[in-house]
């Protein structure tokens, strides 16, 4: 079969390039914007995702994991006494000020546990031994701290809340939504250097259930015994932490607006170029009708052109977005492009391009085949 749609599309290469570029830039824009959004959300809950706790006990109305509030650490005894609880540990997550060698002061988000290995964090240790944290006034620091704290090396000292602590390890991938560097230290040390806020207090209780335990029943029992705390499943806590940033910062609205504008640009470009092309090929469409074709053939031509533009535009746009990933990583921007996102953007691109072709459909439906006789 002769593919008039494809031949016509590629016959005018400049127009085809403009159409495909329009789609490609819109696709790139959507990928980058949604990818950055997902990257930020990933950071907002990365520690929740990595810590294998079935339940999280928090103080009442804690908005997200970074903005922790304290409650008495003895609450853990009540948690441990609940049937179905296999293990429960206190976790402190707390902002602390750090004095840098330059004299500047920066923030750190401290994660403090008695036994890090029991909870799988930090999950990627590049340098140092986590068990050494219990041996003195030591801490681990995530590599991502370099952009706010400057270069650092294991063996150096930093002043954390006025206490001189030695850096004995380096981690990777432990990042917070606010980009505040994450520090890992022993639970007792955290309480020692911040006695006013943390002595006798914790911010979370991590709960792992015994095999076969009923999550809802254990959760209800803990909630009953700790009425002034909240108890969340891991999924709920992840969602709560993420939603806080989406709702409170306008991040979600910003993402939706940019995606909307990206889609709009793509649709307008495709609709405009297809419509112009249709107008220029009106006589050809009339000829198609005169030689026996119907609207179905012409719709098929326009539909195929929209499909080709969307597929080529999508592939180019996706390639650009993937090419941007390493460059954005260099400036500490995480671009998350999942397979699901790729499929969704592809489906959206195809649908919107076909929708853009509808304007031309309306035009060709009214073509008078007699126009082939006009000079």
């Amino acid at each position: 079969m002769v593919n008039l749609a494809l031949k016509n599309l590629l016959h005018d290469k400049l127009r085809a390039l403009i159409t495909i570029s329009g789609v490609a830039f819109a696709v790139t824009l959507v990928f980058v914007q949604v990818g950055l959004f997902l990257g930020l959300l990933f950071n907002a809950s990365v520690t929740i995702d990595r810590i294998p706790a079935d339940l999280w006990v928090t103080s009442k109305n804690t908005a997200n994991i970074d903005f922790a509030q304290t409650f008495p650490e003895i609450a853990i005894q009540r948690v441990r006494s609940v049937p179905g609880v296999a293990r429960a540990d206190n976790l402190i997550v707390w902002f602390m000020n750090v004095r840098l060698p330059s004299g500047a002061q920066e923030g750190a988000l401290v994660y403090a546990l008695h036994d890090f290995s029991a909870w799988g964090i930090p999950w990627r240790v590049e340098e140092g031994d986590l068990t050494d944290l219990k041996r003195g006034r030591y801490f681990f620091l995530d590599q991502s701290a370099t952009r706010r704290w400057g270069e650092f090396e294991v063996g150096q000292y930093r002043e954390v809340l006025g206490s001189r602590l030695k850096l004995i390890g380096r981690t990777q991938e432990a990042e917070s939504f606010t980009t505040t560097p994450i520090v890992f230290m022993d639970y007792d040390l955290a309480q020692e250097i911040s006695p006013f806020d943390l002595a006798g207090k914790t911010t979370y209780v991590l709960v792992r259930l015994a095999p076969g335990a009923d999550v809802a029943a254990v959760r209800a029992e803990i909630q009953k015994r700790l009425p002034y705390n909240d108890v969340f499943t891991r999924e709920e806590w992840r969602e709560r932490s993420r939603s806080y940033w989406v709702d409170s910062t306008g991040l979600g609205l910003n993402m939706i607006m940019t995606v909307f504008l990206g889609c709009l640009v793509g649709v307008v470009v495709v609709a405009q170029t297809l419509y112009t092309s249709t107008m220029e090929h009106l006589k050809e469409f009339g000829t198609v009708k005169a030689i026996g074709g119907g609207n179905r053939q012409i719709y098929s031509i326009l539909g195929q052109q929209a499909t080709v533009a969307s597929v080529l535009g999508f592939l180019s746009g996706a390639a650009m977005a993937f090419a941007l990933k390493p460059a954005m990583a260099k400036i500490s921007l995480k671009l998350l492009i999942s397979n699901q996102l790729v499929l969704q953007v592809f489906a959206g691109t195809l649908l919107l391009c076909l929708a853009a072709a509808l304007i031309s459909f309306r035009k060709v439906a009214r073509i008078d085949p007699a126009l082939v006789f006009r000079t």
């Binding site: 005169a290 030689i291 026996g292 119907g294 006789f373």
Partner: protein
């Protein structure tokens, strides 16, 4: 038995508040293998008649029978099928698809008529050979002369073996010598394959190749 029979065909158009009667009762028949020249001044209704005979327009009144099938004006959705089956067009402006080669232009028309694949390709090459363009089959229209373009258009009209060929001023955009050759070729092909050929024209040369001349004036057959 005529392949085309138009009886008392009338056509009116409404333009704003005005109703214009373009055809006022035209009757015409075309026999297989017959070449008829239809002439008349501008605005006489030639193209409207051609559109009705080619099943592009439906008559406001009257009867059109194509190869024994009466065209039902109330069912315009049936017209494309009649065009596919029975009619081949040649236009004054050639109306070739610029993005398709000569062979693809013919092949595409065959595709629309339901012939696909190798059969379409073979038939396209055969008719291009008949019009003397076998060596130009891979050329795009922009690389062909006016006469060659019209030959491709004739090949396209012949493709699918329609019983009726309708040509609208096929020599208007060609110089006299080339126009004459095209007309002769067109007539010979139509005769050889026993197809009815109606040529709408202002060109007096057409009268020389036609079996019969029909003149139309003010929406009526004059001679």
């Amino acid at each position: 038995m005529p392949v085309l029979e138009a009886t008392n065909v009338k056509k009116t158009f409404t333009e704003g508040r005005e109703t214009v009667e373009v055809l006022r009762g035209v009757s015409l028949t075309l026999e297989p293998g017959e070449v008829v020249a239809l002439s008349g001044p501008s605005g006489s209704g030639k193209t409207t008649l051609l559109s009705i005979l080619g099943c592009i327009l439906t008559p406001s009144d009257g009867r059109v029978v194509i190869e024994g099938t009466e065209v039902d004006a109330a069912r315009p959705g049936d017209l494309p099928e009649i065009r596919r089956r029975s009619i081949g067009f040649v236009f004054q402006q050639f109306n070739l698809f610029p993005a398709l080669t000569a062979r693809e232009n013919v092949e595409y028309a065959l595709n629309i008529k339901g012939v696909a694949g190798r059969a379409a390709r073979r038939q396209a090459e055969r008719v291009l050979d008949e019009v003397g363009l076998a060596d130009r089959r891979h050329f795009l229209p922009r690389d062909l002369s006016g006469g060659q373009k019209q030959r491709v258009a004739i090949a396209r009209a012949l493709a699918g073996d329609p019983a009726i060929l309708l040509a609208d001023e096929p020599t208007a955009n060609l110089d006299s010598e080339v126009g004459g050759k095209i007309l002769t070729l067109f007539r010979d092909l139509a005769k050889r394959e026993n197809r009815a050929l109606l040529i709408v024209t202002h060109d007096p040369k057409v009268l020389g190749v036609a079996d019969r001349a029909v003149a139309i004036r003010d929406g009526l057959i004059a001679a």
